[in-house]
């Protein structure tokens, strides 16, 4: 393009500015504001206490409190449970449904539905199934002679109740990614492996898995970031309880800010969570770069 190169560049910049400006206003500004709050004593329950600069006091308070450490442990426990189950089930179903058989495309499509449902509705659906005394799930389990499980009322089971709802919603995501990745593979390595007389299991483990690994890693980081934000399902099912059995980081922030009205402490916890997410996002981008280079 010989003509007007600098003019084009100007137009490109004009195209970019609105999006960046909006994102600055709606994301960077609130984050700076949260950062500002995190260094202040900002207690809405005590309106007459002056809102002064308190340095690192809010951070020191949460980082030394056993309650906050407990929420971090619960958050990561939930993340490990949901991610590992989703990975195994998702790859399994993905491999099954990736076969080029009649009707399989429809099966893949139908399995995507849970992902498109509002998380709060997913919570309500599972609340209906888990509901003490009334829910269908324990009835279904009793048909296969499993005794009633106190899903949302017991401190041991509540985290599993949440995990199951999240696994139900997001296993299709891993399935979909696996099936799509398998479809993009070239047939040559398979032909070679078959000529060498390998079993189907060997081929799956030594040919398929290594080839789709980069995609799986990207998918898992996306899931990790989402698992970290998981909120709606917990809000509906347990509200962090019983006791503090399912109090994840986002629930802790919610409680500090809107139950105890300690905005400064809530903001400090928000920043800790932002820092963790930044680390996850960095890893995700690295893996995304790597998987795109392969394509």
């Amino acid at each position: 393009m010989a003509y007007g190169r600098t003019r084009n560049r100007k137009i490109f910049l004009i195209f970019l500015v609105p999006a960046i400006a909006v994102l600055f206003l709606t994301t960077i500004y609130p984050m700076i504001y949260a950062g500002y709050l995190s260094f202040r004593s900002y207690d809405l329950a005590k309106p007459f206490v002056p809102r002064v600069f308190v340095g690192w006091a809010n951070y020191r308070e949460i980082l030394t409190s056993s309650e906050f450490m407990h929420t971090l442990i619960v958050t990561f426990k939930l993340m490990v449970i949901t991610l590992s189950v989703q990975l195994v089930l998702g790859v399994g179903i993905g491999v099954l449904t990736a076969q080029r058989l009649p009707g399989m495309a429809l099966v893949r499509t139908l399995l995507l539905i849970p992902m498109m449902i509002s998380p709060v509705i997913v919570g309500l659906i599972w609340l209906f199934l888990y509901f003490p005394e009334l829910g269908y799930l324990n009835y279904f389990l009793s048909l296969v002679s499993i005794s009633a499980v106190p899903w949302i009322t017991s401190t041991t089971w509540a985290i599993w109740a949440i995990a199951i709802a999240d696994i139900w919603q997001w296993t299709p995501f891993v399935m979909m990614g696996t099936a799509a990745a398998i479809h993009s593979l070239s047939p040559e390595p398979y032909e070679a492996a078959m000529i060498d007389g390998n079993s189907r299991w060997q081929i799956f483990w030594h040919v398929t898995i290594p080839q789709i690994k980069p995609v799986l890693i990207s998918l898992m980081f996306l899931r990790a970031i989402d698992a970290f934000k998981l909120y709606d399902i917990i809000f509906v099912l347990t509200k962090g309880g019983p006791g503090d059995a399912t109090e994840v980081l986002s629930m802790f922030i919610y409680r500090q800010s809107f139950t105890f009205w300690r905005m400064g402490v809530g903001a400090a916890a928000s920043f800790v969570s932002l820092a963790i997410v930044v680390v996850l996002i960095t890893f995700f981008f690295k893996s995304l770069n790597r998987s795109q280079e392969r394509i």
Partner: protein, 274 residues
């Protein structure tokens, strides 16, 4: 690829049937329960043969102004979609065409904006919108949802723009068309499927969102998800209304899956999978 034996084929079919049952039965239960009379709602074994009732839907729309809440949801979803699609598409085109070594960093920065935990920024939003006097209006939610929808649109559309052959735009330039004319009359029509998919993703996200809507709206701009949740209280859970409302909220997502599945993979994996 591989020719499975008959017994393996049978096993496959059984496993796939189980997967379909596990992932679809809960949705089926919502649909059935939304028309089930309250006395037999929790009857066991669950009955599937009964005279369907419209009571739950009637109650849903008369007990609270649910039609208004659906309208609010639609307003917010359409507003946010229009807003984010415009800005996101323009930014995506620029990112796709600018040749600069830092442009990839900018694209990643934009994408990262949609990944931060919403709860971390709710307090600043609340204070900001209160000062601006737009708390409890659809506008507040339209602005907030753009933080997710603009990055999504930018990232998706960049992929579509990358695939438009450069020769087409160069030919238009040789013919004497300016960049803007080329963009609007040649490139945009070519990426129409991308625009449609981005629009649907923006719409579904906004339609489904709960926590921002809960914290930033009151009785005026309340959306459908928040309204359905309000039928849940510790003393009396009105399951009939909850199921009816849930079913209504589920519908757009299901329609989307059944009509656009081809493009879903790309949108959901942020380009990890093509």
């Amino acid at each position: 690829m591989l020719k499975p034996a008959t017994s393996e084929k049978l096993l496959c079919t059984v496993l796939i049937a189980i997967a379909l049952a596990v992932f679809l039965v809960p949705i089926f239960i919502v649909a059935v329960s939304s028309v089930k009379p309250t006395p037999i709602m929790f009857q066991k074994p669950p009955s599937f043969v009964f005279e369907p009732t419209a009571d739950h839907y009637i109650n849903l729309f008369t007990a609270r102004p649910f039609a208004k809440f659906i309208w609010n949801s639609l307003l917010v979803a359409c507003g946010s979609t229009a807003f984010s699609l415009t800005f996101g598409t323009l930014a995506a085109y620029a990112i796709s065409r600018i040749r600069h070594r830092r442009i990839k960093d900018l694209a990643f920065w934009i994408l990262s904006m949609r990944m931060f935990p919403p709860i971390a920024v709710i307090v600043p939003y609340y204070i900001l919108f209160k000062t601006a006097g737009i708390l409890d209006t659809p506008l507040a939610l339209i602005i907030v949802y753009s933080t997710v929808n603009i990055p999504l649109t930018t990232w998706l559309m960049k992929g579509f723009f990358d695939e438009v052959p450069a020769a087409l735009e160069e030919a238009a330039a040789v013919d004497g068309h300016g960049l803007l004319a080329t963009f609007f009359w040649i490139t945009l029509p070519l990426v129409a499927p991308g625009l449609a998919v981005s629009a649907v993703f923006c719409f579904i996200f906004s339609w489904n969102e709960f926590i921002f809507a809960l914290m930033l709206t009151g009785s005026e701009a309340q959306t459908a998800t928040v309204a359905v949740m309000s039928f849940w209280s510790s003393d009396a859970v009105q399951w009939g209304r909850i199921m009816a409302g849930s079913f209504i909220i589920v519908i757009p997502g299901v329609v989307f899956v059944l009509t656009c599945q081809r493009w879903l993979v790309r949108g959901l994996t942020m380009g990890s999978v093509r």
